[in-house]
Structures are given as structure tokens and as C-alpha cells.
Symmetry: C4
Subunit: 275 residues, 4 copies
């Protein structure tokens, strides 16, 4: 994700040293740092969850508070260090992970003024995405990026699909409002749209469901239609994922065959040894 | 969508001028027109929704009424102008968007006589489909048309699938009616069919669910069967979408065939070597 | 579906005549016959449904009874004629449609002795599958058979998948029985299995749902697992459908290219005119 | 699954004899053994289920107990024999099926001390996976292994997807906790996460559903997002399944490479021309 190559510092030796520990994971200390980070994130997330449970919060309120303080201070130090040791500071601050690092700190300081913002600390979980590096698996990153790339490439089609879905739900919801009148769950058009989305996405809570025979008939038509629609996003992503599968750089320079597996050493069409 | 090329007017200069603004979006005024249109549609949709919420309607009834009048009159003028400036009037009136433009006006005038029809104004949202042009993204249109084409090409298979699904649901519903007798939710065959559709499409409201052990066993069999069936529409659309991933820029310069696969070296219609 | 070619009668001229009307739809009378058949099936189905609605049955009981008698007698005559005019009688009787024709008659006669069997008359809907011919669309048949063939070819994989799903549901259900003890909906193992199937297939009625925190945690794990499982049948059918897409008979006899679209007149690889 | 080739015993003749019966199914006795094993597993599973139903257990308690004893003793003997006749004992004991065989015995003996463990006997169902051999269908095994291999190959992508899904659900759940406050079903963050998972996976029990307009709006956004996400695992497995549709009969006779695509003409590992 993060293009860390641009961030190599050039000044003091200790910056170099800390940079390697914090931003890389190819040294023992770097790996240790990542593991501790991962643990702190998990502990922080667990605390936020447990604080929301009344009887747990009552019993361990002070413990939670102290731990939250410690972790938040540690994260603050880490954030400051990250900025200090990186050369291209602006690049880091406005990078994907830079923003997440910032967002995972700010609710703590804001919560002194607005207590409810405390729960935004849950965004710390997003930091976990970074710690994929701990597992040091380039392949993992590759697999992840295949998914991300497929989603990115099909994002425009998915936007169109979502826009269509929203228009469809609004219209269907309004029609259902006319059919089911002011019956419970269909009192207003927005509520009927809520029902339409719950139905088309096949979630089907059942907190709102058609009551009149006419409404049920209408719902049946909608469900059958939705059942065909569900195929569309799947088709989009699948087609894209298929497209992005093969190693796109590889090509046989004798016969021009482009369908070359990752583990292939010879072209399967002409038998030429691949470079 | 709309083949606007056939609609070029040839008479008065002001018709030319208005035509470009209304039907195209390659001028500054044309874009402004589209943006205003988009806003009016959104405002109109929001008003209809808010009117359905009693306390909002009570408070702002007059405001809503006035705004609705203004927008409807503006849309009426727009519709009249569209017909006036287009050369092939019949073509426009009976085109997809021509019908939508008409349908988004008529409920307003009908609502003087039949108040309930007011909610049909929600069809105005469909006009939004046209305003894709605002974003001026040919690619967006292409992506959209890829989806539309894939659905069109697989529509016959989906019809067959839906017909099968309906027959399946009717039979399963009737069998469940025999099993669950007159228990709540299974009082009549149509109600049992409603349950069958809710189950097979995996919506599962839970307003109706099997009660007897026998009925539950039957439901389990149905769910497992439905779970395999869900794969069918997905398979159809995916296969079709894969199939139609042609290169949209490619075109045969001898016969004008636009349906050219990415890996094609010769036009499949006239046999000409492609550049 | 039905291989009607083997059924050509060779004796009396009236058999020939009736055969063409009943089994084919390439004559005017043949088409009329199919349309009437389709209507009778729809009327018959509608009657069975309406009979199950108490107030409708009370009001029109006699009408329904008479119509049912008429249609059943007509179907009996048709069935007898079908057997009479076909040469290979055994072949017809034990063919897919022969069995359906029989099954759609027998509940009527059985209902004199066991009234409940009347509802089996709903199987008459299956006869509709035959009347696809009315629409005289060979393409429709082709599209249908593509789906059927894809399902047939992947049936063994789907069986394995279903077997795995059943074993999985039984084990998960039993484990949930241990977790949720005798709480409502989890009184016995079969009931817990019912819950597991409802959850894994994402139907989610909500008539049974986990109550204890432990049970909810368990359900979350199951749902996430089920979410990955849902991809399997889809993958199977999609892969199979893709495989069976191209016109398998067509092949370019110059370059051996097998990827030839239905509408292709020239090979897209070497430009050769196709036969 | 099990690589039985390594397990061939070399000592006494009776070991050879029993080995063939127990581990293979190419003799009459071997097939009989498998069929009896399958029946015992089914009976054992049925007993465990029926024991959980109070009125059945009350009536047939003794019968169930005796049958359970008999089957468990038979399974114990079988397990001992399996170990006795196999040459590479450690290999068997720690193989997939070796562990299952052990797990399907141990709950019986443990249940003398901890009665609740009895229900773990349900794991015996997993033994059914072995008895696929009874049907003696190599093709069945092939089809099964295609699915297993596709899942294995895409497992890393699915792990990433699940990790993302968990992080997503935790964050969405926490945000919903802030929106819906302490309303029923949203009392704590873990409960809100439970709701988020139920919604994103489209299960939708309805035991917890949003109540405030704000919460409903939030749920609608989540559902539409989840609707696009559902496509990802499907895309992964489908792409993998397509990829691995190799010809299972083909093998390179120089290097023994078995991973050969249908359209391959040369071995991709050693470059040898394939027959």
C-alpha cells in the first residue's frame, strides 16, 4: 500500500535506525516493534468493547482508564516519531496510513470535551491492516492487492450498479407505500424504502414485512427481481478478478503466448524456456 | 442509450441552440442545464418523500406545495421545449427517456383528480439516468452499457430461470400447505407460495416460518435446494459478462462491426485483418 | 427434452393427424392445441389455489368443482389420446413428460378416496414446461438446455457440496445445542440443525436466534464461514456454464481455433470463411 | 485425501488381508466393510440426535444406551485394528482421518466423567467423508478434490477477505452503537457487532434491527455496501475453480508434473512435448 521507498531519511543516524524499526520489518527489532504494535491495537480494541458493557465497566473502570491512557500516549509518541524520522513528512501525513494513525489518536484527545467520541477509537483497528507486514508474507500482500485491484478496476461498474440499486429501491419503496398505505412499517416513504433495501439485498430482518395480499404479491415480484439482480455485482467482480489473474508481465517471446502461470518455467504452447 | 444523432434539428437557429443545451452536454450552458435538471429531480424526490412524513407535511405543507408546482411547471416547459426543438418528434416521444419524461409529469396533473397518484411522481428519479452525461464520462457510459448489454444478452436465460423459479415456488408452496395445514402463515396456498419465495430467495423475513417438525424438515430441504439454485442466475450473468468484455474501441473499418473480441485478429463478420 | 422423433406413428392416418396436433406445434391446429392446453393448466392451477382460500371456496365451491371435473376429464382424454397415437407407447409413458401427465391426473381420481391428495393437482404446473414449444422459439429451448446441461454436468460436484453442507450443518447444530442448552429454539439437536441450516444458507428467519453471548459469538463465526461457503455452488455452476458456452460443434478448419461465436462468419484468428 | 500408498504393511499375511478390507474397497469384503461402517455411522448419528429429544429419550433410553455401547466398542476395535495392520502407524494416527477416527471415539469414554461431552460423538459424521470410496467412483473423488483444491488455493485470499470483513464489522458495529445508543439489541459494542455481521452476511434474523431513522439510514448504507462485498468471495472461488479445471488424466511423463492445463501442448515445468 504505502510507498515507503520515497520516505527514506537522509539526515541523522538515529533517524535511519528508528526508520528501519518503525517502517520496515526486515530486522529483529522491526519485527518486535510490529508485534508489540499489533498487541497494543488488539488490547485497545478489546478495552473499548469491554467499556461498553455496563457490568464490566463498573468493575474495571479504573483499569480500563489507565490502560487507555498508556496506550494512547504510546501511540502519540509513535506518531510523533513517525513524523520525525520520515523525510517526506507531508507525504506520510496525508498517506492512507498516515490519516488512519491520526484518526486513531484524535478521538482520545477529543473525548475530554465530547465523551461520546471515545468510541471512534475503534478506528484503531484499521491500523491492523498495516501489520500485515509482521507476517512478512509478500504473497499475502500480493493476494490482498489482487482483491484490492479487482475491486478498484470494477469500482466504476459497482458505482453504476449501486446508483441503479438506489433508484430502484426508492421507486419500489414508494410504490409499496401506495400499496401498504400507513400499515406498520410503511408509515412513510423513507420507511418503505428501508423495507425495499432490506428485501432486495435479501437481508430480510422481518421487522417490516408486507401484510396485505396485494403487498405480499408485490413483495414476491420484488424478491424474484432482486434474485436476478444479485448476480450483477458478483458477475462484475468475478469477471474483473479473472482478468487480473495471470501474471500480466510474463509473455513467451517465441510464440507470444500470454497465458503463463506464475510457476511456469516453460511456455505451455511452444515449449520455450521462459526467462 | 437514446440515439440522439437522429434527432438533429434543421430549421431555426434558436432550435439548434436550444437543442445543444438540452440534449447535449458539450457546452458550458449544456452542462449547467444538466446540473440544474439533476438538482430539480433530487429536490422533487426529496419533497415527495418528506410529504409522506406526517409531522413534516403538517409543518411545511405550503412550502412543499409551492415547490412542487414550480418544479412541475419547469418540467412541463422543458418537456414542451424538448418536443419543439427535436426534428424527429415521434422518435423522441416514444423513446425510453421520452416516455419517462412524460410519466414524470402526468402524475402531477392527474393528482388534481386522484390525489393518490401524486406518489407516482417518484418516477422522476428515473430521469436521473439521463444525467449520467453531466459527469461527461464516456467510460461511465461504456461501463454502464457493458452491464446493460450483459443483462440483455442473458435476459432470455433469466426469463427461463424465473419461470422455473415460479413453477418451483408454486409447487413447493402447495406441498407446504399440505404439510403445515392451516397454521399461521400457511392458511391458504397463495400464502404458502409467499413463504416459499421468501425462503428460496434467502430473504427470510420470518413473518412466516415452519412450525411442525415435518414442516421444518421440509424447509431445510428447500433451503439446501435453494442454495444451489442461487448459483444459476449468477452463473448466467457472469458467463455473459465475461463473454462481452470486448474491446470497445475496436471496430472493423470495412464492415463497421463493433462486436470485436480482445484477442481477435480478423473481423468475424467480414474476415478483414484488423489493425 | 422429450425425444419425440422416436415416437412417430406409422399406422392410421388419423393417428398421424392427431400426432402432429398433439406432439408438434408446426401447424396452426397444433399451436392452437398448445395454447388451449396452456390456458387449461393455468385455470386449473388458479382453481386449486382459490379453493384453498376459505371465503372464495365458500362462495364459488360449485363452480370450482364443475371446472375441475371438466378440466380433469379433458386431461384424461388427452392422456388417452397421447398414448393411442404414439407408436412407442412405453417410451412415452415412462418419459419425463409422460410421468408428469400421469401425475397430474391421478390426484383427481385419488381425491375421491383421500380428499387431501387434491392439492397434488398443483403438479399440473409442471406440464407448463412442455408448452415452451408454443412460443416456437428454438432459441428458448437452446438457452434452457444450456442451463440444464450446466446443472447436469456440475450435478456431481453439487451433490458433494450438499453432502458436505449437511454434515457441516449437523455438526454445527449439535455444537450449538451444547452451547445454547435447552433455550427456546434449541431444545433438541434436530431443532439446532434447523437453525444451523437457516443460518448457513443466509435465509435467517429469526424464529430461532442465539440468545447467550457465547451462542451469538458462535453464530458470528458460523455466518462468516457460511459467507465463504456460499461462493462454492456459484463457482461450480459458473465454471460449468462458461465451459458449455461456445458452440462446441464449430471449429475453424484452417487454424483449429475453437473459440467461435454463434454469429461469426469468419475465424477471428486466421480470417478464414467459416462453413 | 489420505495417501494410503505409504501405508502398505509388509509383515504377516493376516495384516495384508485385513489391510485390504479396511483401507481399500476393491474387494467384495472391503466393500461390505465400508457399507457396514457407513450404516453404523448413520445409526450412531441418529441415536445421538434422538437422545436429545426428551420424549424419545425417556421411552427408548435403554435401547439407545445399549446401541451406543455396541457401536462404540465396534469402532474401538476398528481403530485398534487400523493401527495394528498399518505399517506407518504414526502416519495414520496423525493423518486427517486418523484424527477423526480418534475424535469419534474419545467422547464416548469421556462421557463417563463429563456427560455433556457425549454430544461430541456427532463428529462421527465426519467419518462419512471416508466412505465416499464405497461408491467406488474415482470421478466423485476427482470432483471432490477439484473443490477442495480450489478452496485450498484461494484460502489465503479468503483469509484476507475474512480479516477485512471482521475489521469492517467491528468498526460498523461500533458506529451503530454510537447511533442506536442503548436501544434493545444495541446495549453493548459486541452486541452491535453481532448485528453488523448478521446484516453484512445478509442472514438478517431480525432479532436485532435498527429502530431510529438514523439507525435505519445507516443500516441501508451497510446493506448496500454488503451487497457489493458478497461478490468478493464468490469471485475468488470462481476464478480459482476456473483456473484449476485442468485435465486430471494428463501427466508429464518426464518430470511427473500433474498440473497440466487442458490446452497445454508442452509441460510448463520441464518443457517436454505432451502426447
Amino acid at each position: 500500500m504505502e510507498r515507503e521507498h520515497n520516505l527514506v531519511p537522509e539526515d541523522a543516524w538515529w533517524k535511519h535506525y528508528l526508520y528501519r524499526i518503525i517502517y520496515r520489518s526486515d530486522t529483529k527489532l522491526g519485527k518486535l516493534f510490529d508485534v508489540i504494535l499489533l498487541l497494543l491495537i488488539l488490547v485497545s480494541t478489546a478495552i473499548i468493547m469491554m467499556e461498553s458493557i455496563p457490568w464490566l465497566d463498573k468493575r474495571y473502570h479504573l483499569t480500563f482508564l489507565i490502560l487507555e491512557w498508556i496506550i494512547s500516549i504510546l501511540f502519540s509518541i509513535e506518531y510523533a516519531t513517525r513524523i520525525a524520522v520520515v523525510k517526506n513528512k507531508r507525504h506520510y501525513i496525508f498517506s492512507f496510513f498516515g490519516i488512519i494513525d491520526f484518526l486513531s489518536l484524535i478521538p482520545f484527545y477529543l473525548s475530554f470535551f465530547f465523551p461520546v467520541t471515545k468510541y471512534f477509537l475503534i478506528f484503531r483497528m484499521l491500523r491492523m491492516l498495516r501489520v500485515f507486514r509482521v507476517f512478512n508474507l509478500m504473497d499475502f500482500m500480493n493476494d490482498g492487492s489482487v482483491i484490492v485491484r479487482a475491486l478498484k478496476n470494477s469500482s466504476r461498474k459497482i458505482y453504476i450498479f449501486l446508483l441503479f440499486l438506489i433508484i430502484f429501491s426508492v421507486i419500489v419503496g414508494s410504490m409499496m407505500f401506495m400499496v401498504e398505505g400507513g400499515r406498520p412499517g410503511f408509515e412513510t416513504i423513507p420507511q418503505s424504502i428501508y423495507w425495499a433495501v432490506v428485501t432486495v439485498t435479501t437481508v430480510g430482518y422481518g421487522d417490516v414485512s408486507p401484510i396485505t395480499p396485494m403487498g405480499k404479491f408485490f413483495a414476491v415480484v420484488l424478491m424474484l427481481a432482486g434474485y436476478s439482480i444479485i448476480a450483477v455485482p458478483t458477475g462484475i467482480v468475478t469477471a474483473e478478478m479473472r482478468n487480473k489473474r495471470q501474471n500480466l508481465e510474463k509473455i513467451c517471446d517465441r510464440c507470444g503466448n500470454e497465458d503463463i502461470d506464475d510457476d511456469a518455467r516453460y511456455c505451455k504452447q511452444c515449449g520455450k524456456k521462459l526467462a
